[in-house]
Homo-oligomer: 438 residues x 2
């Protein structure tokens, strides 16, 4: 960690005259590698398996457009005015109905509406984390969470997952190790359902154990659940929050069940924490956009939003199937991956000696982009992994992208056989997210 007053870490070519003025935390803010390639990776001929952009084509745009227009005409003076930092009461009630689908019994007062759940995550970190505090997070973890944790100078300690999600024994060990090191764990950050980027789900029979371990250790649980309603068989799992309301802060989002461009998410928190969150949110944005809250509220009250989620689920299942069958067909020996039951992501491990970050520019040259694994770790692991997002391209494009990726991996294996392992340059810390890797 850079100490205050010391210049923030800069690349060798920095000509920034403000370099000595930045806060220590700013040294931890570095761009994700995919962003450096963004101009190339977003060309139409490139199949991007990098981004986490939802498949919005399924939305009933005409009906939505008509309703938004009507709402502006009748309630525009409210929609265009400041609101409260807490969020619109009607929307907070509806959010409680949404959460009830995963067994949560909440009071609307304890819901705080945020500018996407990213802001919720940022606010939770703001109120709990002092520089040097430890946050436990699955390894790998959501790149945007690592970005927020870095912005508050948290130290991230990763906890292992297996095919059934977070491993309770690994959680116990991580807690003990942090305690031995004299540091303090502020919370466990976990994505229990259809994990980003690992694609796995925390087994139901592990949930009580994870909660009990955290409660015993006096550690809060931050449950991030953007994908929970996107189980491909319509299955849902009991939210951690549903059984431990006093020790879980829950983050929700409409980005994956409705539309991310509205930036409407929420935090459900224990009552006392909620008060702090509202104050933190006021200092961050004054209030979430009123118009956007009203659009979501109206959508929930007038549309078959559960039907829409079913349409999304089916679109993603079709894409998951395309991805898995293409992986089975094309991937060279030595690769392994999971088969997700919901959500957006496949986590791919490549043969030893291949560095997915070093390989990325060559992949983009071969017209396929992905998110390399290192971005999902705070500790530089992940160089043999990459994340495939199947949420946005058509099934045909997914198949084509994975075919190209397989070719790149084969070329890379040949390179490796000829010249030895590829390596990538070191990065200065956890990488902040770009929306393309959300």
């Amino acid at each position: 960690m850079t100490s205050p007053g010391q210049p923030a870490k800069q690349g060798p070519r920095s000509l920034d005259p403000h370099v000595r003025r930045y806060a220590a935390r700013t040294a931890g803010m570095t761009a994700s590698e995919i962003r450096a390639l963004f101009a190339v990776a977003s060309r139409p001929e490139v199949v991007s398996l990098a981004g986490g952009m939802p498949h919005l084509a399924a939305l009933p745009l005409d009906g939505l457009a008509r309703e938004v227009g009507e709402m502006m005409a009748t309630d525009g003076l409210v929609a265009l005015q400041y609101g409260s930092a807490h969020g619109l009461p009607e929307l907070r009630e509806q959010i409680c109905d949404v959460m009830a689908l995963e067994g949560i019994n909440a009071h609307p007062d304890d819901v705080v509406v945020t500018v996407g759940s990213q802001m919720g995550l940022d606010m939770v970190t703001r109120i709990f984390v002092d520089p040097g505090d430890v946050v436990l997070a699955e390894g790998p973890s959501y790149v945007g969470a690592l970005g927020s944790f870095a912005a508050y100078q948290a130290q991230v300690v990763h906890v292992a997952m297996d095919a059934h999600g977070l491993v309770p024994e690994a959680l116990r060990e991580a807690l003990a190790a942090v305690e031995r090191s004299g540091r303090r764990v502020k919370f466990l950050y976990t994505i229990p359902n259809f994990h980003n980027p690992a694609g796995v789900t925390l087994a139901v029979n592990r949930r009580a154990e994870v909660l009990e371990i955290c409660r015993q250790a006096g550690v809060l649980v931050v449950e991030d659940n953007p994908y929970g309603l996107l189980g491909f068989d319509g299955q849902t799992y009991p939210a951690l929050r549903s059984t431990d309301p006093d020790n879980v802060v829950y983050l929700g989002s409409f980005s994956k069940t409705f539309a991310p461009g509205l930036r409407v998410g929420w935090v459900l928190a224990p009552h006392a924490v909620r008060e702090k969150l509202v104050l933190a949110a006021e200092s961050a944005t004054l209030c979430p956009p009123t118009l956007n809250q009203m659009i979501v509220s109206r959508y929930l009250s007038t549309h078959d939003w559960k039907g829409q989620i079913k349409i999304y689920r089916e679109a993603y299942r079709e894409r998951r199937d395309a991805a898995i069958s293409a992986l089975e067909q094309h991937m060279p020996e030595g690769c392994s991956w999971n088969r997700p039951d919901g959500g957006f992501y496949v986590w791919l491990t490549v043969p030893e000696g291949i560095d997915t970050k070093a390989m990325l520019p060559r992949a983009v040259t071969q017209r396929v982009a992905y998110a390399s694994g290192t971005g999902f770790y705070a500790d530089r692991l992940g160089s043999r992994q990459l994340r495939i997002s199947y949420c946005y391209p058509t099934p045909e494009r997914i198949r084509e992208g994975i075919r190209r990726l397989a070719n790149v991996l084969e070329d890379e294996a040949q390179l490796h056989a000829t010249f030895g392992p590829t390596t990538s340059r070191e990065v200065g810390g956890p990488q902040s997210p770009s929306p393309d890797t959300a």
Copy 2:
């Protein structure tokens, strides 16, 4: 300042089981007094002179509603999707045109779109301020800025203003005093035009001097300019940024010239700083709402937005006139106030012995609300001041509100004559804003 690990400061009745978990910064987050009274103060029979809510009734809602509907129907898949943290390129170009009205020559690349300029302020503080760093700000200053500064544990040192805005000599003295104390000034935060809450404007002949003082001291200038286009005679002033692009970070907003409920603001920053801001913004909200940016962009390209600003100016001038004539007619002896040439606010000094914060609940009982002066200082000054916002109520209501306020002041003076000075309880730090005091 509370040190890490120490419990955050709590009220005597706190039953918060998480009290030992909060970050040190959280101790600085306290609610503004007006919020405690909000339920009462927002009753229709109370004239609220507290809030900074713009007078939106002048907006062409029907046309806007039609266009937003059309835009959703044709470009909904973009409007509802993730965008970049930097903001839409077209909007950033248009923002440069807006800023040109105050002499700013900027490149769209150096503009970062934010969720209101509050987020811009929060991001600037995030990247520059370490705990204990000093931020200079006019005394009084915008309550939302003090909230952000507190969230990053900045120490605010106030610099005196007079009728011509920030006093250059006071700025020199403040810089010297901070240097003597061994602390470090990170930036000067200033609202040069139609100041919130003081209502004054930095004289044009002081601007170069203020810039030169900061440049000499190696201190960045953060120029917050939400009201600059709301001069009642259509007058504008050269932005500080227009003459010192390398040492000024400029904050702009559509909240006062168009509509705050969209939460669209921006930061114009030196190029290297802009890169850090984008990364900080990604960690905070991933991206600003795409829909809202498209609405503002379309509004700027299809509406007579300058004509709309003229309509706003005239509405606010009429309200300013109502406020000033009512003050002249009703205020008891010993009160003084300024006559603003633009913007939303009159800053009122009451007779000695009256504490505006202690008086507030009694004022609300008398059906008038205001923002007491202490909220606009980080150092507990301001107990003899209060802010009158004339932006939202009708001229008639403003006159009635000020008449009621004058009665409350007279009652208070009698109380004082009988029982001695009123006092208010101490507060723990600068108060975070509520939208009602934005």
